[in-house]
Amino acid sequence: MTIPPGEYFVQGNDACVEGALASGVKFFAGYPITPSTEIAEGLAQRLKGQNGVFLQMEDEIACISAVIGASWGGAKAMTATSGPGFSLMQEAIGYAAMSETPVVLVNVMRGGPSTGQPTKASQGDVMQTKWGSHGDYQVIAFAPATVQEMFDLTVECFNYSEKYRVPAFLLSDAEVGHMRGLLRVPEKLNVIDRKEMGIRRTDEAYDVPDDLVKPFPVFGKGHKAIITGMTHTETGRIEPEDSKVHSDLVRRLNEKVLRNRKDINKWEMIGEGSKTMIISYGSSALGAKEVATKDPNVGLLRLKSIWPLPEEPIAQAARGAQRILVCEMNLGQLFFSIKRVAQDAGCKQVELLSKLGGEPPTPSEVRHKLRSMGAV
């Protein structure tokens, strides 16, 4: 049974479990890793009652591979991991992008590189999420900052991965994953399912425009589908030597996400038009939010989705601003992309507050940095 509507006091990782179940997840494959293990444990407990399957695989490569296989069986499928496991999954993430498989990956980020800080938070996997597998591809990634968003954005991950047939990521971190807080489960949820091949629907008019997302041929229904990670035509014919087939395919895979930024991007803006704007996401936005809500001269753009890059709200925040501060728990990953967009929009001063070590920047650290920038 999915969780009844109401208010709950739960951990972030548990909220993610409830969000997944509410979205209709039917398959989870996982491998124990701190700080994401509670998601696997929660689904091991809960999936059975939902006619779903929980599987503990031999490694993270097997997890993501099994999840992709389950998706082709028609199930909404997900896995959850952290840095080291995420690195192992990169190969199959590229496969999911190339074969247009809807899958959801939760990455509860911890400090890297390598084994790093298993119990501490970081935002070190932001660029890996976008560029981790080889070749040109696009993904959709959300960054929750609260327990509530661990639920809400898990639902969005499923919805957008189904809608665009892409791997979707919940880029959480140890701070949000282990945070306890209020979860409000709404009466009604907007749940999107993939468009199946061969089924005529009444809502076809709402499909992604320009025919960029093809209907999904579920296995075992006589479609004789060929699914491959090699360069292929629309009918699945392998054409690795045909430059036009390759170019058309890779461009379409990228375009279907990039042309729909408006539909995908989610953000929160506080104090729009302020001369000083902070741009942040995930748990590193929490300290910044406290500063922005208390100081009328400081505004905040908190990105809830980070890939594809929300260029429009960043440019909007930058247009009226004299200075922008980017807060991240890494040495500057989204910073350089934000800086490019902000400077193109006319904001000259874009600086980074970078915090390493496992804890998000505190309000006083944010204020101190703003002071050094001449803002407060």
Binding site: S65, A66, G69
Partner: protein
Amino acid sequence: MDIFEFYRKDRWPHVFCPGCGNGTVMNCFFRAFNEAGLSLDNTVFVGGIGCSSRVPLYINSDALHTTHGRAIAFATGLKLAKPGLKVVVFTGDGDLGAIGGNHFINGCRRNVDMTVICINNNIYGMTGGQASITTPHDFQSTTTPYGNKEYPFDLAEIAVAAGANYVARWTTRQVHELTKSMKSALQKRGFALVEVVSQCPTNFGRRNKMADPSQMLEWFKSNTVRRDKAKSAELDHVDLNLAGQITVGEFVDRNRECYEELIGVEKHG
């Protein structure tokens, strides 16, 4: 079913070299599949990467052509999400035993219902003839120009030890026995492996004084020993050396409960 209904004729010509053993394996498989009375519409063929893993793309059914070594992991997810499907994996020695070794042994252990056909040609054929984990000791390949100093894996014995429900090994020379074992594997509930020692005259034979496919089949004929006829424990061992032998036969046939039954997923429908 007619053999031409089984193949995707529109995908011809295929990529396999003249003299390749894949055609023999596919023909034996078609016969076994047909005799077992299975339906193509309800079967998914999964492959990894390599010559053997291209086979699913030529069969007139749903095909999942995956990443290198991971076919069994993909197949596990697919089968558990849709237990009504018949899942058949085509894989090779490098795909199954080297890069996919961990998925292979854990697949046998987990015992999810699937049929795995491993075409073992003792070489990385598609990339031009590098040594694999089943290349015999002292044989030549492009990466063992002074002879292979490692000793080969015994895939069938690994599968038995890891817990597969059905394991058999034949060569492309024993087509009748191979077909019979493939049928048994398809009818078995649980993890079933048929290893086919197959010829790659282009990239294996050519460098090991067997450039003619018939020479390789002669090698298979004169060096195979049936498992039930092997007299001692010493003989009951394969190292695929010309001086040694290839043990063939059914290695195990048992009925451990398969994973779907154990977790009750079959009732979901």
